[in-house]
Structure formats: structure tokens, C-alpha cells
């Protein structure tokens, strides 16, 4: 009985192992197939050496090794790079008249110049010219979207709805209006009654960057929220797009609430999620008190918030020098050797600190003088020497 068990059990283990490897291989095959398909689709347009037509691997889009739906670990979309070849907003047409499908309405005058300039505040040209991976020519909407409402290909919207989706998604948000006549269309024969505004040559005024913003909230445990816009940009070097990547006009403009003085901010009613998501995207594990205080917050101070005061040398470094480039910042070990790899007993040139250790002290471990390896604190000589004290009596020579 025992023998059979002894024989069978390794066999079982081997079988299990074989099956598991087989399955994992299958999975990889499936993945590879889809990647191949993706590649084939991409290669269709463009030259061989073009960076755009580089083979797509999982890593092109995903940062993490095993992306899940919950945590796909996506990089910002490579479409941005693909479309770097777009001409600047100034070189595009100023006004485009769309009258391809007008039955009841006269042509729509689309102020392309103004819109393309405004798009710089959001996703850029790609926002509308999606999937336009060729850099040589800008595709017309009607190249892909069918003019007829035949709906042969159900997954691609026809031209009419493609236009409407592009325009209405924004226009409806800031005007709260669905009327055809009010914004874009004018009924045929009524052209004189409703004159469309002429936006030729107009551009959006430059936005002001705030230094800090202070909100008074309803949250009882901390009414005041302070946001240091300048710190986030200058100190933490956060890319504008990581917060403002998908801003629509409605972020600032709300037609029914529009003040005549454009310099004043608009307080649009926002949901809880809308208020908090911009901050929570990075400050994921923080509690409410991180932002909600009783008083206005003071600017960022490394010593106060982390307990590690930046002294003369460290204070001049850029954040990413120690914390790495990615936000939110990594916490790092306070042990000097975690950054300074050569700060080890025997290797560390103590004379760099201003004095040379004597022969007796040279071979000792760091912590025998610097308690708990805390180099910020002064060494305590009295541990060994009853009559010596720091810094009046130093071991060795001053340099």
C-alpha cells in the first residue's frame, strides 16, 4: 500500500505540472494571436521604419506585467505619439462648411480654427481626428463614416451620427440644450432670421495659472481645502495632462451660469465624485484630513511633512533625484546607504564630512557612535568615554 502511494504521488505531481504548463502555453498562444492581429492592422498603413509601425507588444500599452480589468496599468495612450505629425492648429482651415447631408437645414459653419486652438487645452487634434494614424493626410470623416443611413456595418456610426457625436457631446454639456436651431443648424429659408455668429479668426484667450486655490467646503471635520497649483507643477513636476488631459469646455463654461466677466471663476454644481476624483487619482490612500483642514494649509515643507529636514546639500536636489520620476512619490528608506550605495563601514570616506577618523575609530561600526544609524543626530561620546563630549572633543584630525 505504502509503495503504491510512493510511486503514484510523484507521477501525480509530474502530471499536474505537465497539465499546468500545457495550459499556460495555450494562454500565451491566444495572446500572441491577438497581438499578431493587432500588428497586422497597424502595419497596413505607413512605412517600415516609421516608429508608428513598430510592432506592438503588451508593454506598449501596459506598465504592469499582468494587467487586469480593475488595474490595467495603462500608459497614457500611444495615440498621442502617433499623431505627433499633426500640423499645428494654425495651419488647419479656419472655417469648414458641412453641408453634405443637409435636407432641412442649411450648411453648418464649423469654426475649425477656434476649435483646434481650444483643443490644445484638452486632448489636441486626436480628440476629433481619432484613429487617424497616417501623418501624411488628414482623413475626412466621410472617408470612414457612411453618408447613408443604411447601417450595413452596425459597429461604425454613419456620418450624421459621427458629426453629432463629435459636436453634441461638448455643446450639450455647456449649453444644456438639444435644440437643432440654436447652436449649429439654421432651417433652410430662415437664414436671415437666425444669423450664426462669425468666429473667423477668433481665438480662445490664454488661461491664467493659479498659484493656490482655497475652497470652503461643507465637510464639518475640516472646512478649508487648500490646493497649491504651483507646487504641483514646479516642485512635483506633474504633467498638465495628467490632470487636465480630458477637460471639456464645461470645466469652466456653463452657459446658463455664464458671467459677463470672464475673469471670474464659475462655480458649477459638481457631484461628490467630480470634486474628489482629480485629487484622488494620485492621493489614493490618503484620509480626508490630508486636504480638509480647519485652516489654510502652509506650502509644502519636506521637514514638516516627512520628518526629514532637507539640509544644505539635499535641499538643492530635484525630487525625482531621490524619489524617482513617477508620481505619487515612493517613500524611501532613511538609511543613507539606501541611496548612497558606497556608504558602508570601511568604504565610507569619513573625511568628506569634515574630519578624519583616528585609527582606533576607523574600524568600528557606524552605529557604535551614531546610535541606531541615525546620522542626523550627533554622536554620543559618553557611551564609551566618560570625560569626552561631542563636538568639543573629536576623534582624529579636523580636515
Amino acid at each position: 500500500m505504502k509503495k503504491t502511494i510512493l510511486i503514484i504521488s510523484p507521477l501525480l505531481v509530474i502530471c499536474a505540472f505537465a497539465i499546468s504548463t500545457l495550459f499556460s502555453q495555450n494562454k500565451h498562444q491566444g495572446l500572441n494571436e491577438t497581438v499578431d492581429k493587432l500588428n497586422r492592422n497597424v502595419v497596413v498603413s505607413g512605412k517600415k521604419d516609421d516608429p508608428l509601425t513598430e510592432k506592438i507588444s503588451c508593454k506598449t500599452c501596459h506598465v504592469t506585467e499582468y494587467p487586469t480589468r480593475k488595474d490595467p496599468g495603462l500608459r497614457s495612450c500611444p495615440r498621442d505619439k502617433m499623431l505627433s505629425g499633426f500640423p499645428s492648429s494654425k495651419t488647419g482651415p479656419d472655417v469648414v462648411v458641412i453641408n453634405e447631408m443637409s435636407e432641412n437645414y442649411s450648411g453648418v459653419r464649423f469654426s475649425h480654427g477656434l476649435h483646434s486652438q481650444m483643443s490644445e487645452m484638452s486632448l489636441g487634434c486626436v480628440d476629433c481626428h481619432h484613429y487617424n494614424i497616417s501623418t501624411e493626410e488628414i482623413l475626412k470623416c466621410s472617408d470612414c463614416h457612411n453618408k447613408n443611413r443604411s447601417r450595413e456595418e452596425v459597429s461604425v456610426p454613419d456620418l450624421k451620427s459621427a458629426f453629432h457625436r463629435q459636436c453634441m457631446m461638448c455643446h450639450k454639456q455647456w449649453s444644456h440644450d438639444n435644440g437643432c436651431n440654436s447652436q449649429c443648424h439654421v432651417r433652410k429659408g430662415q437664414e436671415n432670421n437666425l444669423v450664426q455668429k462669425d468666429f473667423t479668426g477668433k481665438i480662445h484667450p490664454k488661461q491664467k495659472e493659479p498659484e493656490k486655490m482655497i475652497w470652503e467646503t461643507n465637510y464639518e471635520k475640516g472646512k478649508i481645502v487648500t490646493f497649491f497649483h504651483d507646487e504641483h507643477i514646479q516642485l512635483f513636476k506633474i504633467n498638465c495632462k495628467s490632470c487636465h488631459g480630458n477637460d471639456k469646455c464645461v470645466k469652466c463654461h456653463d452657459k446658463p451660469l455664464q458671467p459677463t466677466d470672464y475673469s471670474k471663476p464659475i462655480h458649477r454644481k459638481k457631484s461628490f465624485e467630480e470634486h474628489h476624483m482629480p485629487c484622488l487619482n494620485c492621493h489614493k490612500s490618503e484620509n480626508c484630513q490630508k486636504c480638509h483642514r480647519d485652516q489654510e494649509m502652509t506650502p509644502f515643507n519636506h521637514g514638516k511633512s516627512t520628518g526629514w529636514i532637507l539640509k544644505s546639500y539635499h535641499s538643492q536636489l530635484a525630487c525625482e533625484k531621490c524619489h524617482g520620476g513617477q508620481m505619487p512619490v515612493k517613500k524611501i528608506d532613511r538609511n543613507c546607504s539606501s541611496c548612497h550605495k558606497n556608504f558602508l563601514p570601511g568604504k565610507f570616506e569619513h573625511k568628506k564630512t569634515g574630519f578624519v577618523l583616528s585609527e582606533t575609530h576607523k574600524d568600528m561600526e557606524c552605529k557604535s557612535c551614531h546610535a541606531n544609524n541615525d546620522f542626523a543626530k550627533n554622536p554620543d561620546c559618553k557611551e564609551c568615554h566618560d570625560d569626552k563630549s561631542f563636538p568639543s572633543q573629536l576623534p582624529g584630525k579636523r580636515k
Binding site: R69, P72, R149, S150, R151, V154, S155, P157, D158, K160, S161, H164, R165, M168, M169, K172, Q173, W174, H176, D177, N178, G179, C180, N181, S182, K248, V250, D254, R268, K269, K270, S271, F272, E273, E274
Partner: protein, 313 residues
Amino acid sequence: MKNQNRRDFLKTAAGIGASIGIAGSVKPAKASEKTLSDDRFGILVDTDVCVGCRHCEWACRVAHNIPTPDLDTYSDNSVFKEYRRTDASSLTVVNEFENEKNSAMPVHVKTQCMHCEHPACVSACIVGAFSKLEDGSVVWDGDKCIGCRYCMVACPFQIPTYDYDRSIDPQIRKCDLCFEKRKTEKLPACVNICPNEALLFGKRDDIVRIAKSRIKRKYDVYIDHIYGEKEIGGTSWMYIAGKDFEKLKLPKLNYSPAPGISESIQHGIFAYFVPPVTLYALLGTIMWITRKKKGDDSEIKDETNQDKKGGAL
């Protein structure tokens, strides 16, 4: 009863036996077993794309000859203040719901008959005035309907409406997927007019596939559920949304077809008429046995007979 004799009884019993045989050999046709075409239609309502222009409401009224104000009046947003339902003069309505993710872009949900795969109304209708056509649409036949409103009781989505103010020829009204119109045109009126193509009309299988791919592609926008794919055994109209469907006033329903339990009870009671006929035979036997035992009742009977004869005034 009184003069009934044993021979009569046997004759009738033989008749009952014969009728069992007939009932057993003739299989009653079930309405629910009607085959559905693989190419049957499905419609997807993409609530993320819908802007709530209500043109579908206008087009629907025009297509069904219901009087309607001018299309321009439909851009009035104030109707959204109140939640509306379909009624005898509107076979489809669009309602507005708050969007937590983007308050400037409220969610709009179109309501109309869902054209279930296993419709409760078809199963329930007393005269079979509702029928599920091969192409998926559920249509009403006014020449049959008796106006009992059982379909309204049965419908899990509360869709069929009734003309309460008409005495003669009141209508049961609901979306018919423009069944008449589609004989000459390709699309139902609402789908045809939708400026944003928030309504996607095609083969049901394709529609489900597209809905799934949309959810996958915009996983941060939609919740991972196609309303109507499996609800009460599947519906022709399906919804995808970024918000819990119950909050969009689409009822939370289980996945078993609505008429399931009721039909199985019906078929249980009437399994080829065996239970009723058995009951009949059983009662007949009891009647016969008890009669034989009660020979001593003759006294009473004679009396009543005498009464009858002597009772003339």
C-alpha cells in the same frame, strides 16, 4: 338523477374512456414553442451616447399617426423634471437621470416595449392577440383583442397601455418595432431619426457582441452588464449604461422567462387533459359506488316522488 340506471352509466363511462384515448393522441400546440429566426432583430440603447433630444418620441408619433406638436418643441428640456411613462399617446418616452460621474452630462434612458424573447403578454393573452413574430417583434392584433388588460398585469416592464377614455374600439398600445413601416423601410422610425446613433439596430447576436465590445473598450464608462441580454430570458431591446440600471428605473428582474412558472402550472393541470379526465373518472366511480351502497335511501326517494305527483295545485 333519480331514474339513472346502471346501463346508462356504463355507456357514458365507455365514452369517457374513448375521450381519454383521443386526448392522449392529439398533442395540443404550444404557442411558446414558435421558432425564432437566428437573424431576429435586436436594438441597443447606448445611454452614454444618447443626448436626450427626444426626436425618437416625435418620429414614433408620426410613424403611428398620433398627433404631435412640431419637432422644434421637443428641445424643451423642462419635461425631464418629471419621470414619465409610456401612455396611449406616447409609445416611447425618454427620461433624464443624474450622472454622478459628470453632472453636466445627465443620463438619458429611452423606454418602450422591450420585445421579450419569451413575452409574458403573448403567453397571457386570452385570445392570442399578441404574437411574437419570427423577426423578434411582438405585435398586437386589434381584431382579436377583447380589452381585458391581462397583458398589462403580466408585462414585467409595465409597457402595454390602454385607452381608458374610449368606450368603442379602445386600443392596447405599445411599441410594435414599426412592424408595418419596416415592410417598405429598413429601420424603425426612432432608430432612423436618432441623430447620435444611440440606438443600434441589427441582428440580435451582432448587437450583443457590439455591446460587449463597447463595455470592454470603455470599461471606465460602462458597468459590466447588458440590461436585457438575459433579463427574463432575454429581450430584443438592450441597454448599456454607466450607472446601476435600477437607478435608471429599469426593474431588477431574474433571468428566467416571465411566463415560465405560470405556463408550467397550466401544462401541469392540463397535461394532455389527463388530470381533468382522471378526476372525472374518479368522481364518476365515487358516485357509482356510493349509490350502490345506499339502497336504503329508496324510502326517501319514494316520498319525494309522491310529493311531486301530489303537489299539483
